[in-house]
Amino acid sequence: MKNRDSKNHLQGKSIYIDDIPEISGTLYGLVYDSPIAHAKIINIDYSKAEELDDIVRILTYKDVPGENQIGAIIQDEPLFAEGEVHFIGQPIAFIVAKSELAARKAKKLIEANFEEKTIVTDPREAHKNKSYIAPPRTFKIGETKNIWETCEHIISGRVKSGGQEHLYLETQGAYAVPAEDGNIKLYSSTQGPTAVQKIAASVLNVKMNKIEVDVTRLGGAFGGKEDQATPWAIMVSLAAQILNSPVKFALNRHDDMRMTGKRHPYDSDFKMGLSKDLKILAYEADYYQNAGASADLSPAITERTLFHSTNSYFVPNTRTTVYSCKTNLPPNTAFRGFGAPQGMFLIEAAIHKAAEEIGVRVEEIQKQNLITINDEFPYGQLAEEDGAVKSWETAEKDFKLKELFSEVESYNSENKYLKKGVAVTPVTFGISFTNTAMNHARALVHIYQDGSIGISTGAIEMGQSVNTKIMQVAAHFLSVSTSRIKIETTNTTRVANTSPTAASSGADLNGQATQVACIALYKRLTGFAAKHFNVEVEKISIKDEFIYIEDKKTDWNWETLVEQTFLARIALTENGHYTTPKITFDKTKEKGHPFAYHVFGSAITTCTVDCIRGTYEIDSVKVVHDFGVSMNKLIDNGQIEGAVVQGIGWVTMEEIAYDEKGRLLSNALSTYKIPDILFAPKSIDIIHLKTDGHKFAIMKSKAVGEPPFNYGIGAYFAIQNAIKAYNSNFKSDYNSPATPERVLMGLYQK
């Protein structure tokens, strides 16, 4: 089945925030944000701005009736700055005007006086000052202290990985419409409608039931709209509450890039010990995460870095510690992978460095150490499947890895200015919110008396086709055609207390809630049919919209059944509730069983470097991926392809740059480059690893959003290998991204 939105997308009929028909009298908001990274606010003069035509009101912290606070995990983030500013782009005021142009003009007339303070943008410097977002956390397994003397090889080093701008093509935005009794209907481009609702209530000093959050779809999010969709949604709500008018704010790209956080840059140290036969005996890592000025989701992200610090490998003795460092940058936030890519990048870099120093092929170390059934992850959970080994072996065999290596070698000896490099990247990714309490969902399924069906869940559609999958689930469990099914907008009045659509879990959680509801409805309907036909319920089934008694088709079709059930005064609505079984995690011990299951895979990346110009192309990415049993191959393959290219972007051309004043230099699409169609790998081949699927995955089809992002890391190492093929003096510093600049400097390193 195709993405259910496909035709509307193609005709431009799909509705995003800025496409919602405006109610007359709609006002437009614009944020006045801090031009300074760290300062005391001496005074701000809004008078000239306020006098401008068409300016309705300028709101500041003084106008907040409730809490001036939007921090979701830690309450350390004011909606509007009060007294101090902590990063460039921090909201200070919200200008509300009759036109966007007027708001832009007013912004220029605001005069502010600041007393500048020293700023910190480097996480190591913050670490020196012990300036953290939250206390450091450590995961341990075995004991690394005394193991080093038993190691044949000890490798250590420092590695940096860069930030990443989400660049969802639809910028952030929200539209609030006041209703009677002080209620507000709030359209928000958010992955987390409940978080928006809860925080709006607290800022506006009303109860949650006053705020109805509604989301049709997002034009991309990638984690960037999990927490950071909140401020704008709250601001328009506040303005709507105070002015009793509809208020809209769709961010301009520059504002979006300047004011929102990105993937966390990491600066890390590692130490790795290996035995003579290349077993990794010990691994220690200290991650200095650049969290920005407030917590946002950083505490949860640090956790996932630790969960994935050993990627696909079994390391009996590890100690990993992450320091979430406070800096004067916008609060960094969730981005596909959620801290895992940074953890995986470090151990892959460590292994590459080890191979280089020991003088063996990287793949020898990688393959030796893959995790397999009953091996323990550093957090206490045992591996239940052997996907790491199997996917590696399948990739090796089906993609003819040996032949590929020798082809590349002969290419490199035949070409003077062009060199190829290859890298293999295994990936193991745990599925579930690592905060156990968040792993639940509900689905509200209505069957209307004419047989049509409407489904509401907490899932947010943002391109991952979660709504299409939910439709498939309902069609399957009710045995009806998908054409009967409508997926409703995501709305907090229909499905409440939801978790954000994140952690790759949207389809698993909301799909299984839908499944629960549909199974209940199916039972109710077949129960009624059994009564009507006077047979045992076990004999009744619905197949392709007809009612069967055992193998015999009756003259009742779906519509008759629904109508008759309705007339019999039986409820045709069900609210399905699902909680992920088995998962637990004890933060005091940092041990437990946090994941419903793991997703495994291996990818082989090949690239060509132009050694005259320092530019490069990605030739191919060959992936063996554990989908479980994919419920929609077209969509799942699309997720892999998209994630791979995004991951490649992260380690190649995507470079976030701030100047020494904390000002974002890569502040537009002209200075922050993401892959285009001509940069995408020439080929991406995907093999579905043969497995039976996993019982906790929706219809055995495993979560697919985040895991494949990490395959992208392979491009970094493939490029390093190609540089080495040209310049034998080259020693990689393993700092990512491998921009054309770094590549050229490497090619001519002495």
Partner: protein
Amino acid sequence: MIEFILNNQKIRTNEAEGMPLVDFIRYKQNLKGTKIGCREGDCGACTVLAGELIDDKISYKSITSCITPLKFAAGKHIVTVDGLNSDEIGSVQQHIHEHGATQCGFCTPGFVMSLTGFSLSTKKADYSDALSAVAGNICRCTGYKSIEKAIFDISEELKSKPEKDNIAWLIKNDYLPEYFIEIPERIKNLKNEISNKENGIVVGGGTDLYVQKADCLLENKIKTIKYISSKEKITQKDNLITLSALTTVTDIIESEIISNLFPKLAKQLLLISSEQIRNTATIGGNIVNASPIGDMSIILLALNSNLIIKNSSNIERTILLKDFHTGYKTFDLKEGELIENITFEIPNLDFKFNFEKVSKRKHLDIASVNSSILIIYKNNIIKDVHISGGGLAATPKYFEKTREFLINKEINKENILKAAEIIQAETSPISDVRGTTEYKKLLLRQLFYAHFIEIFSIDI
């Protein structure tokens, strides 16, 4: 009053002539299919087609409506995704649909428009041209591989499109709705009075201006010099090539005169911006925009071009391009003066030309360093040479000393290595978001080598 046709509807409007076309489409006409991702020409979400009657023939080009003034629409047919819609999806859309090549969908209307623009091209359909047509369309869900498959199918299907009557064929094959057939006649009935006497901010293609100061253009009169263009933008008279300042990069790519002189240039020009921008950005704008990295300035510098400048009383003067830029974003142009033409001479000896550009992303990106060279030689001896480089100084750089060194030198490795030292010493680039000083210096040397590797296959 501006008159044009928007999709199937005639528009007569008094809205501000400098309003970005996308705002007119979305907020004045309520056609929300066209999306906004950046307002800087860099994402392609706002792509629309502009159809223009030239010699009674209609020609459609894709443009980014976010950096196009409303006034540009005057006398044209503007097509948005909403204008392709009948109840069912058309052929371009069908192919994308088949391959599941849309995820969040926000980029999708832009891709549809770029590919519809490609389908309207009079050139024979070719897959790599089709890819180029969407190189200005960014998809962050990065469904590029499935988009490629759709593009492949589209370009295969379009191979059976005849050269003549292509619009009729496209209608018959569900690429376009039927009303397209009457558009040329309807355009003829549009009335627009735009004279070259009007005052206002001079806009060439607008691709630079709208990124710098869109609000200022919205609130002021603009002078769209496009309307004073002669039809033949590129002409040759004996040894002299004349390019109107309004020549777009696409005009150069499509010019036979240029491809006869510099067979490889058309391909190299694909390194400049994107198809949408190449369709509108003018060379006059590139020179006056005065970016030290301007690709066309760098190319024209190496051709040792002259600028023909006219003032408001039609008095002409000529200045060498290499003398035009005087400092960072300063240049020799007085109030009321416009660049009319750019000219250069075809050398009367053997000559070779090359253009090199390295940027973070190969396509639709501003160079870290770019460089051009024109080598005039006889029997392997350099008789004259013009070398330019961008991103290295406050202005587009012309390398005088390197030229002096190379004249009358043999083309060999030793001389090239020596010249490379001179060229590196001739400039001291500053570190910025496009690269550090060390990188730019090294890259300059490498691109200098690349010229000789490309032209003479010399082993460095």
